[in-house]
Every structure is written in structure tokens, then in C-alpha cells.
């Protein structure tokens, strides 16, 4: 029982990370109907830049976090400008899928060449001795991940709902053309949403890094599973991704423990296939009406 509870705790922490990445998918999907297939790589870059800052340059972890976020912001804007904007201009779905994949591969390859192919350990900023909660062990870092993830999502939601810039984002989401006619620079809004989306991913990267190993290959599967979460929760539901993330996180830690760590990625992927086969709008999303 104690073990199970412990698995649930780490599952929740992992799930919150998925939720944050999935949240990033939602941001870009909302404004431009596009997704960054290199979202996992944005997370990986965030973690590795963080590692360099903390480990090599001796920057304090708490100072490194905003720097990493800034880095993610710029990286996301770059992806949008180079990969997505030209594709939106020529209305090519194939174009943006392929170019964000291509950029993802380039980022991964560059990271391999800079940081090497081996996984590296990220020094934990918090005490590594576990706390006892309801009789099971919890790492303080796991609590930080959960708190950080929730904070991040609330901050972006607050921005979208309460500020005038956020209103521009929401307006673009509702009707891109109408927003454009109202004088909103929708191109800029889309760039901004990509920047924000990569920022959240980079933030997730530096949050999760002390709990796992960091390396060039850490991003791809995380990104894919976060997509599963985004689909399970529905690409339009904020609550959905948190629930979906936690479900998947727990499914994964328990599979890893009771079956084999080699299979831990399987439940998420199978869930993705199943949800898309049965209910593509996700468990919490609304089914779109197709117009002819």
C-alpha cells in the first residue's frame, strides 16, 4: 500500500509536467490551429540550458529559472518565425508539421553535439531527503514540480483573462480573421503564443530535470506523451489536461514498477491511440461541428 501511494505521488508529479507541456500545445492550437511537434525538444533545451547555468556557471537554481524561461520564450518565437509562419501563409498543413519536426530534429542534434549523448545528472536545489506524507515518501522536489506547474498554468490563464494582451490572444482564438479586422496583429499573437508555449515547456524542463536525468533524448517521448494528455483532456479544456496528465502519470509509474520500466511509455501511447480511435475530441473537449 505504501509503495502504491508513493507511486501515486511520483505519478502526480510526472503528470503535472505532462499537463504543463500539454498546456503549451493548447496555447498554439488555440491561436493558430497548429502544434509544435518539437515541444519535447523545447523542454529538453530548457533543462540543458538550466544545467549549464547551474552546474557550469554556478548560477543559483532560482535565478536560473527565469533565465531559462526567457530562453524558451525566444526559442519558441524562433520556431514560429522560421517553421510555422511561412506554412500558415501558404496554408499548408503538411508544411508546418514537417517544419516543426525538422526544427525539433535540428535542436536535438545540436544539443547532442553541445552536451553530448549521455544523460547528465541535474543537482537538486532542494533537500533530497524524502518527507513522509500519509505514510509514504515524497521528495520535496516533487512538491515543487506540482506547485510550479499549477502556478505556471494559473499565471497564463490570468494573463489571458485579465489583461488586454490576453484578450487579443483569446480573440484570435475565437476568430482569427475577425480579430485581424479589429486591428489585432494576429501574426504577432501567434508568434507570442508559440513563445509562451515554449516558455512553459522550458519551465517544465528545468522543473523536472532534478527528478530525472537530463539529456538530448529526454524530450521526444515526453512531448509525445504530453500530446496524448492534450488529446485525452481535449485540446480546449484546461481542467482536462490536469486530470489527463495525472491519470497518465500514475498509469506510467505503476506500469514501470509492476511490469517493467521498459514498458512504462506504452500505456500513454496506447491510451492516445484508443482515445483518438473512439473520441477524437478528448474526454473533456467539445466535438466540433464540421461545416460544409
Amino acid at each position: 500500500m505504501e509503495i502504491l501511494l508513493q507511486l501515486v505521488y511520483s505519478g502526480i508529479a510526472l503528470g503535472m509536467i505532462y499537463a504543463v507541456i500539454a498546456f503549451g500545445y493548447q496555447l498554439t492550437f488555440a491561436t493558430s490551429d497548429t502544434l509544435n511537434f518539437g515541444q519535447g525538444e523545447a523542454l529538453m533545451l530548457g533543462a540543458l540550458v538550466g544545467l549549464t547555468l547551474v552546474d557550469t556557471m554556478g548560477v543559483n537554481y532560482w535565478v536560473a529559472v527565469p533565465i531559462v524561461c526567457l530562453f524558451g520564450f525566444i526559442q519558441g518565437a524562433f520556431v514560429e518565425r522560421v517553421g510555422v509562419r511561412p506554412a500558415i501563409k501558404i496554408k499548408s498543413e503538411f508544411g508546418w508539421i514537417m517544419s516543426t519536426i525538422a526544427l525539433g530534429i535540428i535542436f536535438k542534434n545540436v544539443a547532442e553535439n553541445i552536451w553530448g549523448r549521455d544523460d547528465l545528472r541535474f543537482p537538486s536545489p532542494l533537500d533530497e531527503s524524502p518527507l513522509k506524507v500519509l505514510g509514504a515518501n515524497v521528495l520535496p522536489m516533487e512538491l515543487l514540480v506540482i506547485a510550479g506547474a499549477i502556478l505556471m498554468m494559473l499565471a497564463v490563464e490570468f494573463f489571458n483573462r485579465k489583461t488586454i494582451y490576453g484578450k487579443a490572444v483569446v480573440a484570435t482564438f475565437n476568430d482569427r480573421d475577425a480579430a485581424k479586422l479589429m486591428g489585432i496583429n494576429t501574426g504577432l499573437v501567434i508568434t507570442f503564443s508559440y513563445a509562451l508555449s515554449s516558455l512553459t515547456a522550458a519551465f517544465a524542463g528545468i522543473l523536472i530535470a532534478p527528478l530525472t536525468l537530463t539529456g538530448a533524448t529526454m524530450g521526444s517521448v515526453l512531448g509525445l506523451k504530453a500530446f496524448a494528455v492534450a488529446i485525452i483532456g481535449g485540446l480546449t479544456s484546461g481542467l482536462g489536461i490536469v486530470v489527463g496528465g495525472i491519470l497518465l502519470g500514475i498509469a506510467e509509474t505503476t506500469t514501470g514498477f509492476y511490469i517493467s520500466t521498459g514498458y512504462k511509455d506504452v500505456p500513454g501511447l496506447v491510451l492516445l491511440l484508443l482515445v483518438l480511435a473512439v473520441r477524437p475530441a478528448g474526454l473533456f473537449g467539445k466535438t466540433a461541428i464540421k461545416k460544409v
Binding site: F37, I97, N109, F227, I231, L273
Partner: protein, 641 residues
């Protein structure tokens, strides 16, 4: 063909096993790419799962060979079969989703396959991999060169089969899915079924390629079939050129040879410098001659210059292989969308455009006009009988009642007008009748049997054809092919008929072509049959939609604003065409805003307003109805005034 002859000759020219193996790999990849092209090029879906399918093919062979000791003749077909089954499984989610979702689904599939291969050590030996020998055929163990010939034979076979499939009605169905899924369904080409077909055929070829690859390498391990390989395959398809077999072969050559080229850093430095100089020069020329602006040339110029400068900084290029591939994808996606083959074709058509025109004139000789089989059997039934009976239809979107308790009775042989102000629910009614929407409540009977809950494609096959308010043609296909998609139902030939090009298929193909030409002549597009549909002017596109709908040989034809955007002379022509269609015994429902057209040719008119039927009757009656006048011109009703 020349290419193939060259390939066959390779072992004769050079006995060096390294080169033989290299060309062999190119050929094996080509087989897979033929298959991938069906999914990517024709149905327009992004598949990131083909490395996984390739792996399934290879491992099926490996496992059957080492664990069960099956012979070559059993192992290869089994690999094809097993992989095709996996292709069908992969296509299941693909039924509901497309675009980025499907890309992610296939990516997840590929990842799962790789994990399973790695983990299921009791079958696959896991990371250790499987070693196997070259096959024995007729008790002769093949050597490298003999196996090479065998691969040649398989390549030739798959080339022929794929070519036949793609130019048959199956290929047209695949292409139609890409052009407009809704229109395909309404032409009786079930989007679901043909997506699955495309995936299964594609997977089968991937299985064949995988099986041959296992024999060729004589060693298989899980790491080969990873995400990078998938991306390489996609790069090969889009770089070589979609929808061409030669493009697939060129693409395969590039992705096999490129890593070898990249091993040599000096060569790469040369190439990148040449590329940068070339791009700079062409950019300068383009800007001076005002073909493009400075801004649009900036990205490629800066990109290539940086690349060549960067190449001189490097010690070795092998580590940067994937970045180079990534850059190539970006380049191809934005600057070489039609691939190398497409580019060459475009260059050719610039130099000699006259040839095309000649070909067009040739076929117009067959001037026979369309005559429908339906006109015979419809003349037997009395006019005046109800062909369509929709009763108390309710279509609700959330809280909005787009159609509220509407009855619609259409008599056999009539032209039934359906009019109403914008947003009154006319097009929604169309979509309900053709099965695109399932009504919240109500009954629809067509020829006395209910069509509620049936799919669009089966409703289409039962005899209801339609056109679309916002034209839904298969833009990338020719005018003739568009009509042939409508004639899809007339093909009874199976997959095997197509592969072996049997008499039956040839005959059906011939008949369908004749019929398509006569339909085109009927709407006056006979001379344009070789033109791409998207190049037609708007008015002609509407006529083409009518021809395509007639190809279904419908008993009931729904026309959704056929005159919208047409010039006055075009409308006169359209009126004649509609009357001729009616004379052929086809019943019509006509949604239209041009009142003179509606009033002149309709037998009965129904008027919708805010989702409700407010009037029905002969055109003149309806015109005089105060409710109709009010709906169109506004103003309060006399009772209140």
C-alpha cells in the same frame, strides 16, 4: 525505364560488393517509398509510422526464419501479410482523425513498435538483434549478386502493381480523399474504407521492403527502426517528388547516398560553398529582374551562407547529419514543394507548352452525349409518385434549431425549389438529406426506405447526388478524373483485377472513360477534360460539379446554389442543362437565390425561414404569399400594423 536498366546492370559494371549492396538498399527503400507515397502523396496524410511498419516486416521475416525455419517463399508473403494487418490496425484511429492528429497517432504507433521490439526479448532477442542468412531458393543458397537480382525483380513487380493501382479507380479514390473528403463521401467513395485500403497497401509494401532488408543486411536490431528513419523516409518522398514513382526512386537514392557523402567533410564543404554561391547568384538575378523581393530571398541566402561558413568550422560532419537532414526538410517544404521531379516537370512545361494543347484536341472527337441508364427505369414508374419524403426534421446544434420540424415531399420527375433568406437552413437541409448531419429527430424516406443513420457514401450509392455551395472539387485532379471519381461505383473490379490488369478491369475502365467524356460533353466541358479542376474558372467549376454528380447516375440530384457567381449567359446555359437533366428522368432539388431561375423552371417551391417552412406550392402561389414577401423584404405583418 533507363534507370531500371542501369540498376540491373550494376553488378555487371562493378563487382564491388559495397556498391552492389548500396544500390540494393536504394531499391529496397524505393519499394517502401512507393507505399509511403500512397499515404503521403495521394491521400495527403502524414505518416510517421512507416519505420515501425518497416521494422515489423523485417522482424517477421527474422523471427519466422530463426524460430520456425520457414523458407523464403513463405517468410516474404507472411511478412507482407502481417505488416498489412498492422497497417489496418494503424488505420483504425486514422478513420476518425487526420492531419496533425494522425501524424501524432502514427508517431505513437512507431514508438510503441520500437519499444515492443526492444522489450519482447523472447520473440525478438531485444537489443541483441537477430542474425540471419541470405535465402535459399530451389536449394541454392543465393550469394550477394544473385540476391541483388531478386531484389530487382521485386522492385519491378511492386513498381508495376503500384503503378496500376494508382492509375485505376482505387488510385483516384485515394487522391479524392485528399482533395475533399466530404465530396468523396458524397460521390459514394467511402473516406473510411479507402483510407484503410491506402494504409493496408502501403503497409504491405513496407512489409515487403522490411523483409528484403532483413535478408539484405543479414542482421536486424531494434535501433534501425527509429524516428529518424521515419523522418528520412518522409524527406525522401517530398524531396524526390510526391505522386511519382521516379520521385520515390530519386528520394531513396538521396537518403541512402547522402550519409555516405556526409562522411567526407571536404566534399561537404565544397558542396555547401557551391550551394551558397549558387543561391546568392540566383537571388541577385531574381531581385534584379524583379521576380521576387529582397525580403523573400533573404532567408535562403543567409541560410546557405551560414551553412557554408559553419561547415569550415567543423572537424567532422557525421555528428551533424541529422541537422543537415532537418535543414533539407525545411528547404524542401518551403522552396521545392513539388520535389525534384515536380521541379523538372515544371521546367519542361515552361519550355514546350504547345504539346499539351495538341493532346487536348485529340479526345474531343467523341461527341456522344450523356444518356443515362436511369432514364429507362424511371420512365416505368409514374411521375407524381413521391421519391423523397422527409417528415418533421429537427436539426439542433447546441441550443440552435437550424431546422425546426420541416416536412419536405419531393415528387418523382419534378424540379423542387428550396428557397429562403440566408441562414434559413437550406444548406443544413441538404446536409441532412445527404447524411453529412444526422438529424436530431425526424424521418427521411428515399424511394420508400429510410436513410436515417446511413453514411453519406451509402446514401450517395443509393441514388442521391449533390453539388456544394462552396465548390468541393478535387482540385489537384483533372476535369476528367473528377468525373471518373463520380463513376467509381461503376467499377466492380477487385484489387486483384487491377494488379493483373484483367479483361474485366480494362473493359470497365474503357466504359467509364466513355461515360465520363459524354458527361463532360453534356455540360460543355468536353474540350477541357485534361485541365486541372482548380484551374477552371468559377462558373465552369460549378458545371463540373454537376457532371461529377451526374456520374453517380442518381435518381435525385441536389443542386446547392448552382447559379451563384455565374454570369447571365452562363445562367441561361445552366437553365438548359437543368431542364435536360430533368428530361433524363432525374428528380432535382434546387437551392437558389436567383428568383427568375427558380420561378421559371421549378415545379414546386418550398420556402424556409429561420429553420421553418413558411410556404410551399407552385412558384406563382409562393411568390404571392405575404409571409414569403415578409421574409425576404422584412416589414411587420399586416395584423400588427
Amino acid at each position: 525505364m533507363l534507370c531500371f536498366a542501369l540498376a540491373v546492370a550494376v553488378p555487371v559494371i562493378t563487382p564491388n560488393p559495397y556498391y552492389i549492396h548500396l544500390v540494393e538498399t536504394i531499391m529496397i527503400y524505393s519499394i517502401l517509398l512507393f507505399g509511403l507515397d500512397i499515404v503521403v502523396g495521394y491521400t495527403g496524410q502524414v505518416s510517421l509510422g512507416h519505420a515501425g511498419l518497416f521494422g515489423i516486416g523485417a522482424y517477421t521475416t527474422g523471427v519466422l526464419l530463426t524460430k520456425l525455419g520457414l523458407s523464403f517463399w513463405l517468410a516474404v508473403p507472411f511478412s507482407v501479410l502481417v505488416t498489412a494487418v498492422f497497417g489496418a490496425i494503424l488505420a483504425m484511429p486514422a478513420l476518425k482523425v487526420s492531419g496533425p492528429y494522425l501524424a501524432m497517432v502514427t508517431l505513437a504507433f512507431g514508438t510503441i513498435i520500437q519499444i515492443l521490439i526492444n522489450e519482447m526479448t523472447f520473440v525478438t532477442e531485444g537489443p541483441m538483434g537477430i542474425k540471419l542468412n541470405k535465402p535459399e531458393i530451389f536449394n541454392i543458397k543465393l550469394n550477394e549478386e544473385q540476391f541483388y537480382w531478386l531484389v530487382c525483380v521485386f522492385l519491378a513487380l511492386s513498381l508495376i502493381v503500384v503503378h496500376r493501382i494508382l492509375k485505376s479507380h482505387l488510385g483516384r479514390a485515394f487522391e479524392a480523399l485528399r482533395g475533399s473528403p466530404v465530396a468523396s463521401d458524397c460521390m459514394g467513395v467511402s473516406v473510411y474504407r479507402y483510407k484503410v485500403y491506402a494504409f493496408v497497401i502501403s503497409a504491405g509494401l513496407a512489409g515487403l521492403a522490411g523483409s528484403l532488408y532483413a535478408y539484405s543486411e543479414q542482421y536486424i536490431s531494434p535501433n534501425t527502426y527509429n524516428f529518424e528513419l521515419t523522418v528520412l523516409f518522409l524527406l525522401a518522398i517530398i524531396m524526390g517528388g510526391r505522386k511519382t514513382r521516379s520521385g520515390a526512386i530519386i528520394g531513396a537514392t538521396i537518403i541512402v547516398l547522402l550519409p555516405k557523402l556526409l562522411d567526407d567533410i571536404e566534399l561537404f564543404q565544397w558542396i555547401s560553398t557551391l550551394l551558397a554561391v549558387g543561391i546568392c547568384l540566383s537571388a541577385v538575378i531574381a531581385v534584379v529582374k524583379k521576380w521576387t523581393s529582397v525580403q523573400s530571398t533573404l532567408t535562403p541566402v543567409i541560410g546557405t551562407v551560414c551553412l557554408s561558413l559553419f561547415s569550415f568550422q567543423l572537424e567532422s560532419i557525421t555528428d551533424w547529419r541529422l541537422s543537415i537532414f532537418g535543414l533539407m526538410i525545411l528547404f524542401v517544404v518551403y522552396y521545392l514543394q513539388d520535389g525534384i521531379v515536380g521541379f523538372v516537370v515544371k521546367l519542361k512545361s515552361f519550355t514546350k507548352p504547345a504539346e499539351e494543347n495538341n493532346a487536348q484536341v485529340l479526345h474531343t472527337t467523341s461527341t456522344s452525349e450523356w444518356s443515362t441508364a436511369r432514364s429507362l427505369h424511371s420512365s416505368g414508374s409514374d411521375s407524381g409518385e413521391l421519391i423523397l419524403e422527409a417528415s418533421s426534421i429537427l436539426m439542433q446544434f447546441g441550443g440552435l434549431k437550424a431546422i425546426n420540424q420541416v416536412d419536405l415531399r419531393v415528387q418523382q420527375g419534378h424540379i423542387h425549389g428550396l428557397i429562403g433568406p440566408n441562414g434559413s437552413g437550406k444548406s443544413t437541409m441538404m446536409n441532412v438529406l445527404t447524411g453529412i448531419y444526422t438529424p436530431t429527430q425526424g424521418q427521411i424516406k428515399f424511394k420508400n426506405s429510410s436513410i436515417i443513420g446511413q453514411t453519406s457514401s451509402s446514401i450517395a450509392l443509393s441514388g442521391i447526388a449533390r453539388t456544394f455551395q462552396n465548390v468541393q472539387l478535387f482540385g489537384e485532379m483533372t476535369v476528367l478524373q473528377n468525373v471518373l471519381v463520380g463513376l467509381h461505383h461503376s467499377f466492380k473490379s477487385s484489387f486483384l483485377d487491377v494488379c493483373f490488369n484483367t479483361k474485366r478491369y480494362q473493359l470497365e475502365d474503357h466504359v467509364a472513360n466513355e461515360q465520363a467524356h459524354s458527361l463532360l460533353n453534356f455540360v460543355g466541358l468536353g474540350a477541357l477534360h485534361n485541365e486541372l479542376a482548380r484551374n477552371l474558372p468559377y462558373g465552369k467549376q460549378r458545371l463540373l460539379e454537376i457532371a461529377r454528380a451526374l456520374a453517380l447516375d442518381p435518381a435525385l440530384l441536389l443542386l446547392d446554389e448552382p447559379a451563384a457567381g455565374l454570369t447571365a449567359p452562363d445562367i441561361v446555359e445552366l437553365t438548359q442543362i437543368i431542364q435536360k437533366i430533368r428530361d433524363h428522368g432525374v428528380t432535382l432539388i434546387l437551392i437558389e437565390h436567383h428568383m427568375d431561375l427558380v420561378m421559371s423552371i421549378c415545379d414546386t417551391v418550398s420556402v424556409l425561414d429561420f429553420g421553418q417552412k413558411i410556404a410551399e406550392g407552385k412558384p406563382l402561389q409562393v411568390q404571392a404569399d405575404p409571409k414569403v414577401v415578409e421574409a425576404y423584404l422584412g416589414g411587420s405583418s399586416p395584423a400588427i400594423a
